[in-house]
Amino acid sequence: MSGRPLLRMTLPARAEAMAEMRRALAQALERLHIPAREQERLILAVHEACTNVIRHAYRECVGGSIGLCVEHVRGQLRIRLRDRAPPVDPRCVRPRDLSECRPGGLGVNIIDETMDRWRLRPLKHRAGNVLCMRRRLRKESGP
């Protein structure tokens, strides 16, 4: 990716690390002066992406890590998550039908509804997976 990162961090792939990630991302997004509701949506989507890595890629095994890189390029937010988990089949990661009322499986819908584009791909030689997400930002309207 090009552009100067707004945020670059490596997280332990543990649910307990997500609060710190959300704080760091909130601080980074503050600098962009985007509406609070938009910030919350973006933080939620990145959180859901991270928790999907923890639950489904690492399968809650201890010791994994997640690399997070957030860039702001020409009015667009580019978010990249990198893990070192076994390869995930992107065909299995799809939003579900929200007309079904059932617990679970909402994380991908939240990502899909929030981002303009996203793509998950396993890396060669079982080196992990990369999730790239993009969202065009809406600026806060001035006074």
């Binding site: 959300r22 949506r41 959180h47 909402l106 509804e113």
Partner: protein, 116 residues
């Protein structure tokens, strides 16, 4: 703010025969299973459950899943179930998941008891 300073919790009391779970803090994968357990345990002993979400500043899909499971179980047992005064943050996620039209949501417990 560090994760250690988040004031997460879930208080339980009985009010007019209903069990009331008052949840506070950030409901995410790190402790949503505790909320799920509290909801399901309460449904084993009460004719009506109200989950107060006013002080929930953040909720993720695992927290929403705990509420959906409770709602489904209540419905299957013909028990009353209500979400009370969700915070704007919770409301936003319920809307995103299109669950705002599925859950019985009320401004307060008295309205829930009259309306469910």
């Amino acid at each position: 703010m560090s994760a250690a300073t988040i004031n997460n919790g879930c208080d339980q009391h009985i009010h007019d025969g209903w069990t009331v779970l008052d949840v506070r803090g950030e409901v995410d994968l790190s402790w949503s299973q505790e909320i799920r357990r509290s909801v399901l345990d309460a449904l084993a002993t009460t004719p009506g459950l109200a989950v107060v979400l006013t002080r929930v500043s953040y909720i993720d899909s695992s927290g929403i899943a705990a509420l959906v499971e409770g709602f489904q179980q209540a419905r299957a047992k013909s028990l009353r179930f209500a979400l009370i005064a969700p915070s704007p943050s919770v409301t936003s996620v319920l809307e995103l998941a299109r669950l705002d039209r599925v859950f019985p949501i009320f401004a307060d417990l008295e309205t829930a008891q009259a309306g469910t």
